[in-house]
Subunit: 242 residues, 4 copies
């Protein structure tokens, strides 16, 4: 399959270029940067395009790709329900498959899935995420998403037990749908997440740790392969895992 | 539901008696020990019976229970394929449901399930189990079972990379179906298991830790409830989890 | 050596009674409870006394013991500088040794010591403590003490890097002398603490986990032995470790 | 201070060149490779020289440096007692300080020190080391050294409890001076080590994790600074830490 890359000189984009070049079943059709015309994709026969540009550019790119039968795999962050609905509309209209993937780490996505499956069996659950200290927001989007999945899986069950009366300096974490989330910011960490489940006399701890953005590439290649053999819009890597 | 307990004065049995007494939807029908006649179960109206006796007693107990329409939940260890086939035969013959559960820890069973689901996405996987130092065999049955699940899920994939040429004192663990298993025996541990998955620039670590046999009780109660509303033979807690 | 126990029917006190009975070099002289006269200690020939009573009783007990040449080992919590000064005065006046020990866990005390030693070599450090969900205050006293030791060891060094601008729900932990402290409250935990140090391309993680109050007994026995062969007042288990 | 680097185009050497260039109190005097004459060091006014060449070259380099009053900091591996004695002789003869450092990771060296300090307080201890799967020997030199420190600190204490009778496939690890050492080889790991201490009802776990050779640079710079202000031969980073 012939694959284009948008945002090809950025940190993620350049890693994707390498990964596509290294994949036996793919060929790099075109590596485009800010300013390059999208027509180069069709001229080069791109069948799919991986987009790691910016929130301001991605919607235009995606519309163009779908209308020219190039299947977009979108890694740009910040897709809300409205943007997803818009892309779904274009995909249906054009009959061209697309994928919007908020997190390309297969490990992180598996951790979220497992957390959702385990949640109903444990009376207690807390999330600890750790990222590099240059990150400006806390907690991470992945942690918020994981907390929501845990809360959803526990609907109807008793609240977490917690007798804390005195915590003047907020050591008990942010409550996201009732699930405590703690954020660590430390040199030596890239992107890590742990979910601590506790029950009477036992603990189940799920831990994922990314130390390099190379860890996202198996997820990117998986999404490209799947968008080529599916129809319609895929949202999230989880749908693509067995 | 009215529940009997066999082996009721043993360490696990007595904990089960407490758990049944504490469950709102259950009543303790009878707590029997070595020497007590099984007839007490039917006299007391037991609908299900939890068996934590010994390998030499369990088959007789189970046959009797099934033939008297008391649903057995068997926690005695060491059930091979032959014993399972025999119990399945009795269950079909009598039309009475039964459950044989090698591990009642919901957490440990979830960890095994997750390990099986994750295995195909990572090039490397190793198991580290830790138990109290009075355990006479290594590695643990749960670790062996987990290794087999990982190996099965990776069928057809490349072997784990490992350039080790020199390891004269066997530090690389036992290979169970090719999966390295390391056993720790240390004071302060009861029954713990970790699975370490590794991929390019990332790690997924699943960890379960039992510090008390109370941790098995949610699994025992779940098995009792399920054997009451199902038909046929259930083998393993995994079938009973969503 | 002959040892008395005050608060002998409490949870900690009764465990101490067992531990003294099990120690080859000790004899239980007297096990006293609320209401028992302290004279029983001297009548029974107690040389040392372990006090696990309450803040309202401990000062009176300690003064009495010191004035009767019985060496007190005080495990009651909440000793501030004033109380320590008072006990030191009594100890000097009477020439009788004493020990005030805020934390009898050798493992927890070693962890604090190691954290203090490591702190100056790492640009980042955060503390995660986990306790049972019945605890009413957060973070734990041990975590606060550990944070202070880390802050002191890093005096003059740059602050921890942290670009967080947006953390509306307080996921970044309580800052204790500038050190982030996160508190987990979960079933299945008794008293645990982790210190996460991070540096360029590396992490050092120190973790201590108590699952049973039996873990405090080696520290209690050590303190008794040391108070018998030392002079003056000892504050904290750290002074008693090599 | 003016610093030379030998083996400057190797993986470690080139990282040292960067680190020296980035240190405010250092200047890169000369970066030499295989074939370059050592005289360049003295011509460039090097006061110290970091050697990351090979076992076959390092002794000649070190003798030359000491005889020309350039203080060597040796990072080449495989220094036995004989080599150390030889370097010590040259250092004494010439009155020039030198350092032989088997492990430049401050974190790894601290972990070993802490393990040695904790060992006598716990009845059980095991080591788990994890490295990339291209490593050909197991267990790692650091793990062997850590095991020896633990064994030495426990001299005279009871052996680790271990009732294992049946372990046909060697899951219990290599015994190094009686301390079990388990070696994991997995993609995603660079160089990690954990020491698991266990006692009645408690665990102390020390964990160090290197994900990048940049983690060795603080140790290299520390050794250079210390060799400039000390006399005689220093062996090991531990002597240089407070």
């Amino acid at each position: 399959m012939r694959v284009g890359v948008l945002g090809a000189s950025g940190r993620m984009g350049s890693t994707v270029v390498e990964a596509v070049n290294g994949a036996e079943d793919m060929e790099l059709a075109a590596a485009l940067d800010h300013g390059d015309p999208l027509e180069k994709l069709t001229e080069a026969g791109a069948e799919a395009v991986v987009d790691f540009t910016l929130p301001g550019a991605v919607m235009g790119n995606t519309e163009w790709a779908l209308k020219h039968s190039v299947r977009p795999v979108v890694g740009v962050s910040g897709f809300d329900a409205e943007r997803i609905a818009t892309v779904r509309g274009w995909s249906e209209e054009t009959g061209t498959a697309a994928a919007v993937i908020p997190n390309f780490s297969i490990g992180a996505v598996l951790l979220m899935r497992f957390a959702g499956q385990a949640a109903k069996y444990f009376p207690s659950a807390e999330i600890i995420e750790a990222h590099h200290p240059r990150k400006i927001d806390a907690p991470s989007g992945t942690a918020v998403h994981t907390a929501r999945m845990i809360a959803q899986a526990r609907e109807g069950l008793p609240e977490f037990p917690d007798a804390t009366e005195c915590d003047p300096d907020h050591s008990r974490g942010a409550k996201v749908d009732g699930v405590p989330v703690h954020a660590v910011r430390a040199t030596g960490y890239v992107a890590s997440q742990q979910v601590w489940f506790g029950g009477e006399g036992e603990r189940l701890t799920l831990s994922h740790d990314s130390t390099d953005r190379g860890s996202f590439m198996p997820g990117v290649l998986l999404a490209v392969r799947e968008v080529m053999r599916r129809e319609g819009l895929v949202v999230g890597l989880d749908e693509l895992l067995d």
